[in-house]
Symmetry: C2
Subunit: 386 residues, 2 copies
């Protein structure tokens, strides 16, 4: 087991009816900048519950945080927050709204020259430098509600940057599974696949004798498999959605990666597929991961065998059981209605391979837990997705 540090001060308030707890969680005298997205919270009743629980506080609303939150949009929210003198930020939505709110909470009190420095300079802010941030999660997938990570896009300069700071862990996050009841089924499917892939990025590398972390990761995978298909049914079932929500948070709240190597190559390649072809983030993961793992099987062998045996109950040795485990993964994604080949999206694997190879080549990027996955190997992997 590698040495590690674990720190996660976010208070999770979980369960049906817990949005009402905002009245205890947000100081009575707070001036709150409330951030949300495209307005779905006005259609599903979440907006009403939030505003009702915040009775007595001064609320400044900022709507329109887009998927892959944009720096220019967030700067508008920061300037509004400064102008109105807010002292609390509340994000109501999914990962994009929460990621954006982290920059807003850090940006409002920031005294540096450019807020963009927060995103690009690790030392720009430290614990205590951001406004307190609360979240009401409505779309389980990214676990941004329980970590200090944020991904910000800057469309004007074609940048997309992940940053992290202890300063922007949410003070609290409210997870009410009923808020997911009105989600389009496609978003539930995407959330399950995204969470599943998050776990595997932290698990399917090489063993370092981190026995408990392996079990914790396998437990999340087994849970997602257990509830996956039921989570897509209507009417939604509370227990199923509750397990989905807690599993998605647990997949990336930075517990299971303690003391172990991490991969994230699938995510890096997936980001490029989303940028070039506009497929959803979770879709991009499903058309890469099974092929990347097979391509890298000689380096990931121990973990892929363990995955097949413990998570799918398969027996057998070596490549045969690895192949069988990956086939189970593909079939699981397919049962959720998730395509697993680039060709399912009418994307030419050769075209994708060449474009993304060139992109990584120009940026001299090497991927994976061993930092050895080069652009040519990425191209080989993408050509397999057919």
């Amino acid at each position: 087991m590698n040495n590690f540090e674990y720190f996660n001060p976010t208070r999770i308030v979980f369960g049906q009816g817990t949005i009402a707890n905002l009245k205890h969680l947000v100081p009575p005298s707070a001036s709150v900048l409330m951030l949300y997205g495209g307005g779905s919270i006005k259609r599903n009743g979440v907006y009403e519950q939030v505003v009702s629980a915040l009775t007595g506080r001064n609320i400044i609303e900022f709507a329109g945080i887009e998927p892959n939150p944009d720096y220019d949009t967030l700067m508008k929210a920061i300037l509004l927050g400064r102008e109105k003198g807010v002292d609390f930020v509340l994000a109501v939505g999914g990962g994009s709204v929460i990621d954006g709110a982290k920059l807003v909470a850090a940006g409002i009190p920031y005294r540096g020259n450019a807020v963009w420095d927060i995103v690009t300079k690790e030392t720009a802010i430290k614990l205590g430098d951001a406004l307190p941030l609360g979240t009401v999660l409505t779309l389980p997938a990214t676990a941004s509600e329980m970590n200090g990570t944020s991904v910000i896009s800057r469309r004007s300069t074609e940048e997309k940057v992940a940053w992290a700071s202890e300063a922007v862990f949410p003070l609290f996050s409210i997870l009410d599974p009923t808020t997911t009841f009105s989600l389009p089924i496609k978003q539930v499917r995407n959330g399950i696949v995204d969470a599943y892939a998050h776990v595997l990025e932290q698990y399917a590398t090489y063993p370092v004798d981190a026995l408990l972390q392996d079990r914790q990761a396998e437990g999340i995978l087994l849970t997602l498999q257990e509830i996956g298909e039921d989570a897509l049914k209507t009417p939604p079932d509370y227990a199923t959605r509750a397990n989905f929500m807690w599993a998605a948070t647990s997949a990336l709240n930075k517990l299971i990666n303690k003391g172990v190597p991490e991969d994230w190559a699938t995510h890096m390649i997936g980001h490029e597929l989303t940028a070039f072809y506009g497929i959803d983030h979770a879709e991009s993961l499903a058309v890469v991961m099974p092929y990347l793992f097979w391509h890298q099987r000689q380096y990931k062998a121990d973990k892929l065998v363990q995955y097949a045996r413990r998570v799918w109950g398969l027996s057998g040795e070596g490549e045969a059981v690895i192949r069988a485990g990956l086939d189970q993964m593909i079939q699981f994604f397919n049962r959720l209605g998730m395509p697993t080949k680039l060709t399912d999206f009418d994307i030419d694997p050769d075209d994708a391979a060449e474009r993304i190879r060139a992109r990584f080549e120009s940026r001299q990027v090497l991927l994976g837990e061993r930092n050895h996955l080069n652009p040519d190997m990425v191209a080989e992997i993408l050509r397999m997705s057919r």
Copy 2:
């Protein structure tokens, strides 16, 4: 899944050599009250490492915190800390030292009439009211290093009270597995059984559709089983001890109990056995739990079947597989050198049954996740331990 709140702000610093990190974790200007126990840290080098890392700070030492830390001892530490004007408390030791340090950290700045009120009145202190507390763990077992719970004994009045407050979560805890290398093997054995029992108290109740929490609990049990016998070998193996340490912390850092019922009857009965007969805490758990679970099998059936199947890989149905699972538990404890019958300690089960029945009768105590385990049932359980 029941509604729940999760909050755990302790920073864990894990791994070989991490005691040196004290120099970053404790403010350079701090005046530190350093608490420890009987002096084993002076024999195993931990004391030297701590003092060396704290170079430059004012250190006030208070040694002699006993197992089951005593209120009168802790009051002496509190008065010393007030006299010297300390602003930081550092616990170096196991669960007893850390439990005691929590009261000391809360007691030094406490302005109420009697420090004992902190232990008995839930509202006596709140988040932010205690001095910052850091810990260097040397004995994995209680997880006090990563929770807000403390058990204080008051020998002068024959009281032993468990209390909890968000104010006394350690600010940080350093977990260096090499600090366990000099532990007597009996203490390692006790730590494994204690952690194993902690998990089962939160797991072996009745199902509430908390699928992930079940998997997390099973993962800790499997890990303890995986490393248990190896952890007793000499020379100690780093990876084995690291897994033991992280599993013991994870067993009671209040993650796996989120949204699920809890039992704790074995602990309540065990406390009385320790009080009457002086057997170790872990020993008391091992001579109660297997019989209590069998006695309560009609109420715990679903979970005991799941335990047998998932944790021991057994097949079968109903009472047969429950019995086989509990037999596996007993054999596991025995393989660790842990006795599992009162008679192994020359304790008469009838005598224990009568004494403890009377004790619970007089206090009108009902135990267990259904609050239905009455003193007569406790007596029946103890009579089975032969």
